[in-house]
């Protein structure tokens, strides 16, 4: 037998040595495989268990849902009532003088330090901000603060005498959506009119200054008595610019927000005009007479997120919403979910990035934190008082919660893949994904360099 064995100096015969090596390799392989399977199994098992626990928690909770809202993706209880617009944070500034004094005095102390930042707050940046808001301020004056019946959102626009006959409600939905996309909508969906989302009373500011009539309050409270009973709601989402929103909370980000409001006004007015020209009464509205996010959820445009905003699959929370109320019977869309609720439980990036600490880190609840919340909805309630206080300190609105949201991404394949992966249940997976999102450098706020670089890019 040839003895040019592999391991010179070994006491074992080649045959024994081979057996020894084979055994060692098998044991190594076994331990390696066991470790890999163990790690994968732990992650999978904990994901499945936490997924099951979430379902179990909801079953255990046994909160009765409001009649007619059983299929709504967000739990609505009987306690939920139409909100009084007077209590929204924007309208409170008209009558809650103690609140205004408090936030103004606290904001003044901090404003000095913030004004020292220059990039994003120069004349160039502020001019762009003003330009973004220009159309909204001209044609939908005050609507962003809740003022109803501005020119673009007039309830009584002219209606054609000739009624266009659609084949059926499905046909109406197809044509209305096609028109909406043509007229500038990024996303469009149809919902049934629901009086729960309309304010119980509307705040109409007295914009004419009459020095002879010294009114105690500068507004009237009116009932939302529309010229017709709306049947359908065309819900339109307008995308905001990704790069500008990433500059939050500077004046440049405010330009993107303002442009969003201007586009809302343009698209909403156009779609309502289209519907009226077909012979059906219709009018558009933004923030002014009803809540937008619940309608958008009903129309299947997205889900409610931890930050209180609509999270869409295409753009995340980086959208502005406008609705068109109409008497036309249009086939409504179905609610769509894609894992946002479960992801938001683990993520908390919006809460971490909020400079006002206005977004909840706690579990969802049905009780709000201030009178500017509408109780009875099982969700994470934000604190609008803290939020608006920061806006005043900042000298412009803030979109940190939009910027930081992992769903806020440009429309590219690898982000779509990650969003799809986020739809799988499991808190550990979601926590890892949220941390990785931060590690990869997405969702940064207060980025002075990015503000400076904005004007250098094409």
């Amino acid at each position: 037998m040839k003895n040019d064995n592999l391991n010179k100096g070994s006491c074992l015969t080649p045959c024994e040595e081979k057996k020894c090596v084979r055994e060692k390799l098998n044991r190594r392989q076994f331990f390696g495989a066991a470790a890999a399977v163990g790690a994968a199994g732990t992650v999978l098992a904990s994901s499945l268990i936490s997924g099951c626990k979430a379902k179990l928690a909801e079953e255990i909770r046994k909160i009765p849902r409001k009649k007619g809202m059983e299929n709504f993706p967000v739990l609505i209880t009987e306690k939920c009532k139409p909100m009084d617009q007077k209590n929204t944070i924007f309208c409170r500034q008209l009558w809650d003088h103690d609140f205004v004094k408090k936030i103004e005095s606290e904001a003044a102390v901090r404003r000095v330090a913030l004004s020292k930042r220059e990039k994003g707050w120069r004349q160039l940046d502020r001019a762009l901000n003003a330009a973004g808001w220009a159309l909204d301020h001209q044609f939908a004056t005050g609507s962003e603060n809740g003022q109803p019946m501005s020119p673009a959102y007039d309830w009584n626009g002219p209606v054609s005498d000739r009624k266009y006959q659609f084949n059926n409600p499905e046909d109406a939905a197809k044509k209305i959506k096609k028109a909406a996309r043509f007229l500038g909508a990024s996303l469009v969906g149809i919902a049934r009119y629901n009086p729960l989302w309309t304010y119980s009373r509307l705040v109409k500011e007295n914009l004419e200054n009459d020095p002879d009539e010294q009114k105690k309050e500068k507004f009237d409270l009116i009932k939302p008595e529309f010229p017709f009973t709306p049947k359908s709601v065309v819900v339109i989402a307008v995308e905001m610019d990704y790069k500008a929103i990433a500059l939050s909370p500077s004046s440049l980000e405010g330009a993107a927000t303002g442009l969003g409001y201007s586009q809302m006004c343009a698209v909403g007015y156009s779609v309502s005009t289209f519907t009226r020209r077909l012979g059906y009464r219709a009018f558009a509205n933004g923030n002014d007479i009803s809540l937008s996010v619940p309608y958008a959820v009903e129309a299947g445009l997205g889900e409610l997120g931890r930050n209180g905003l609509l999270i869409t699959p295409e753009f995340g929370p980086r959208v502005r919403l406008v609705k068109v109320f109409t008497e036309l019977d249009i086939k409504p869309d179905r609610c769509e979910t894609f894992g946002v609720w479960e992801f938001c439980k683990s993520c908390q990036r919006c809460a971490e990035s909020c400079p006002a600490n206005a977004i909840s880190f706690e579990k969802p609840t049905t009780e709000g934190t201030t009178i500017s919340n509408n109780p009875g909805v099982f969700k994470w309630y934000i604190n609008p008082e803290k939020c608006i206080q920061f806006w005043i300190e900042n000298g412009s609105d803030c979109a940190n919660c939009i910027t930081a949201c992992p769903y806020n991404k440009p429309d590219m394949w690898h982000h779509q893949l990650m969003a799809a992966a986020a739809g799988f249940p499991g808190a550990p997976l979601h926590t890892i994904m949220a941390k990785m999102d931060k590690l990869f450098g997405y969702g940064n706020t207060f980025d002075i360099k990015a503000n400076a670089a904005f004007w250098e890019e094409n």
């Binding site: 040839k2 003895n3 040019d4 592999l6 080649p14 081979k18 590219m412 690898h414 450098g441 997405y442």
Partner: protein, 101 residues
């Protein structure tokens, strides 16, 4: 888009041809798990490269570098394990390759 798919197809064909000649020449034994490893390696390599390029296109340099590091490391680990498995299986089948006895 069509060009991209053609490029991916061409890379796949080149990889398969290269593998075939390497296996034939070196008398390598490639089991089912080895083929699986090769397939996963190819997908991961493609994914890592595509991730990096996409991030650079959208201007997120940090995401490109970190993504390529993480996914690239996983790719290399799969490559190393697969290569070791192929070589080990080949030794078992062709013991005379190293002139054992």
């Amino acid at each position: 888009m069509e060009f991209l798919w053609s490029l991916i197809g061409a890379m796949a064909v080149l990889l398969i041809c290269g593998l075939r000649s390497w296996i034939k020449k070196g008398k390598k034994k490639v089991t089912f798990f080895s083929w699986l490893g090769i397939f996963v390696f190819f997908l991961l390599a493609l994914f890592s490269t595509a991730w990096m390029i996409s991030c650079f296109i959208e201007g997120e340099t940090r995401a490109a570098v970190i993504g390529f590091s993480i996914f690239g490391t996983v790719t290399m680990v799969i490559f190393a394990i697969t290569r070791k498995k192929i070589l080990k299986d080949s030794k078992t089948r062709y013991p005379s390759a190293r002139g054992a006895y």
